[in-house]
Symmetry: D2
Subunit: 295 residues, 4 copies
């Protein structure tokens, strides 16, 4: 993000460079930046984003629909290199929608067709806030919406998408909150001390497949040196933390059975707030444990 | 077990029918029953078993070795119908050693050969107290034993095997403890009441495969109508309990996130005491849980 | 309770002995037993009680009020030996209302006067279901009731009082549930076993004073040989369980700090359901514990 | 501490002003500062303290004994204004040893006499690291020591005392760790969020009396705005945290019984490490809670 433009610089720009600088934040819709230009100067990046969102909200329904229609289809036929803005490509790629199996591809296509048939615009979702399963769940849920409701839902998703893009392009105070955090902490209740040296894996658990996201080990404070996930929205979906406590207790020579009652402790949980902080600690003995969503 | 012989009847028998009745408890070794016959009458089934075990312990080492050698190999070439006593067949079958994959079969054969080469007798283990993974772990561990140590280990296993057989064949007071129990209990800490209607699965978790053992649901006391496992030794090995609390909280309209933080709670644990009672409860809210080995 | 009358015997009685046998269950109101007599025979003691309650419910309001007026005042001037039935004396005595301090006596008298002034009948409450603090709380709360509401509340209390009396006087199947139970269980999460030998105290915690109710020690199952409270209604009120775990861990040589982080664990809780089962376990290590209302 | 001398300034001083500046850190023993002077310059305040301690360690036993003898008696007859250095007065006063009851005073005097009789020097302890009960416990325990062992114990205590004094008098990098911290955190496991607005009291629990140390309330993060204790050594002794969760759940309209099962949650614990961090959180629902020593 070395070439982010400063908010102060944006505030000082003429209209044309202003639109050139941030027009592509709202896909194929320079008019959004043009409208926001009138509200200069912006005290915060969030205020700039709010002004752009307001420009969309203030537009006639038909303009909003045209705007939505200009977004690429998700994982569908239009998802070919030339048809996606660079930003859209990166977002869809991170989810793995470009690596759908044949069956999944067919299912997404069917949803795409049904959706477009019903609403007349492509399904828009901020994919960086969702796992593949969550995209699918949203797709099926939103198909049941009424037309007006769904137009608002699509604009709301565009709000999330453009927040992320604006934060990536503009440097300045008061950026909208777009990142979440997942952290953990292991406490050994036999010794009353943080558990050091516990191996941990974090997996994304999908319906058809699971993937290893992080592999790490606790430090002397019973935490990981960096959060398990951070610096981006958390993806709505299901995860599993695995704590390999068998090796820990063996190394500490803390008495356990043979084989030990607890060796690998799995904690399966779902994330619903991409911008939230999920602290998922483990309080452990060789014979018991507890966990909770902390803060 | 309709045709179990009564301990009182055994106590009243002449030698020949006594040996005919329980001689096959110790594989191909009527001399064990013959020796035990001298200690009649037996106040308890356990005392009868102890007398038979003592007869083996009192025998010369060479006799003990012959006795051990008369046991069938585990999952090896000799495990063909004709070579196994009926009891041995049932015990090995329950473990799935008759359904080894090609690779597993080869591995077991290699262990069998190495073991027999080193000790001069087949690997004897009370398979009803072990999962397949545990048999394998014991096999590898025992290969490292010294000869005398391993002879005692084999006799000890025969003690477990014959306890089970004797209990199956003789009815009477003071049977040796041969069965274990696994139970659970789900408490809803939001309402302070037992959680009714929580679906539960119990799986055996093997290195190469897992298998569903039980599928049930909690009753109004938060327990299952019958123990998850009982009436037989628990098999040493790894298990997973899965509690489907998402559906429970939804049905009770207890507020949770979307998707809920906790939906399926897996508890992975190992059993080390086949004759023990493992109570593995779950204390739950939509945002936290704890478990422990209870009693 | 050696001289309880059998329900079968009651069912076979003529009216006069029937009324003589259980007439005093409803204070100074033989007409209740007389009315219930018509519904003979009773399959259960609960059915007999229900019939008597129904007789009261079916009576005109003025009769009900007269009936309530015939109950003694609580802890007031009328609570002298001659004015109380033997049963009333025992019930009030168990609460310690006969040992009120001067200040408390004055407060009760003031409440008594205000109550009688407002409702025209004495304050009736099933004192065996309440601690002294709870009686006081009920007194203050019920003073705010409307007249009809309060007449029903009084009759409801008489239902509790008479249940207890009937169960004490009549033997037979289907007795109404009048007793509660308080139990505990201590699990040592360091060893995964029940904690044996933990000293426990149970106290009633009153606003002006506290009293030791039970002093006991856990057995090899981590439980107490008999429930902490049972065989009678639990009194609505506040309690404290004290677990002396410092001595337990010291005796087991389980490492702790000096002085130990946890030595005496107090658990303070209130009972709201006199006929309920309160299981209040303790899961403990030298550095952590948890408790919950179990079942 | 506005007039603390900078370590850099000390490092640049001639001997006389150096000794004048910090000579009184070691009671009536300028020779300690004089000896340490030779090791200038000091990179850290801890290094300066270590040099002073080393000077004492290197002294002949008789010099050490003289040095110890120059310390005031604890709460005894000598504890009159003129006999205490200003620092000693402040330290003893904070414990309340100047407010001993008659009985306690007599007990301390007896211990003082016995101690002085046995060891020939007054009982020295870093009172700022102890509650009154802990001072008494140490007194009784140390009376059983052998003479050499006790001389070392006394010097070790003087190490603690002088660390505190030096940190109070000298400003600079690398100060020895002399302060501890007690903190808490309340998590509401019904909502999965920090519990805001829970009233908390912290008490010191003494054998003969208890005292309220802190009264506070949790903020929106479920923590207290500042640590419960910090900025000084924690005093070895017993404490009780009281969490008034009844009011919290009532305010949040989270269903509970009447009276609520949990209203005031007491957590009683002891502190053994004055320079440690004790985090004592509460995980709570209306029907359950858990606590542990966290970090």
């Amino acid at each position: 993000m070395a070439d982010r433009v400063a908010l102060a610089a944006l505030n000082a720009m003429e209209k044309a460079p202003f639109v050139a600088a941030i027009g592509d934040v709202f896909e194929h819709a320079d008019w959004v930046a043009e409208a926001a230009f009138r509200s200069r100067p912006f005290a915060t990046v969030a205020a700039l984003h709010a002004a752009m969102v307001e420009a969309v909200q203030a537009a006639p329904a038909e303009t909003q629909l045209d705007f939505i229609r200009n977004h690429p289809e998700l994982g569908g036929k239009l998802a070919k290199a030339g048809d996606l803005t660079e930003a859209s490509k990166a977002e869809q790629g991170s989810l793995g929608l470009d690596r759908l199996s044949g069956e999944e591809y067919t299912h997404f296509e069917a949803l795409n067709s049904a959706y477009k048939e019903k609403f007349g615009f492509p399904f828009v979702i901020c994919v960086r806030r969702h796992t593949r399963d969550s995209v699918l769940a949203q797709f099926e849920r939103r198909l049941a919406n009424a037309a007006d409701e769904e137009r608002n839902t699509a604009l709301n998703e565009i709000g999330f998408i453009t927040s992320l893009r604006l934060v990536a392009q503009v440097e300045g105070p008061g950026a909208p909150k777009t990142d979440g955090r997942l952290s953990t902490h292991v406490l050994d209740n036999v010794t009353g001390k943080p558990a050091r040296g516990v191996e941990i894996k974090l997996l994304e658990i999908g319906k058809s497949a699971s993937g290893l996201l992080v592999e790490t080990v606790t430090n002397s404070d019973g935490r990981t040196d960096s959060p398990l996930l951070s610096g981006a929205p958390l993806r709505i979906g299901t995860y599993e933390l695995r704590f390999y406590v068998g090796g820990y207790f063996k190394a500490k020579a803390i008495a356990a059975a043979d084989p030990p009652f607890l060796s690998e402790v799995p904690i399966k949980f779902s994330i619903a707030e991409p911008e939230g902080h999920y602290h998922v600690p483990l309080l452990i003995t060789p014979w018991s444990y507890s966990t909770y969503r902390g803060s």
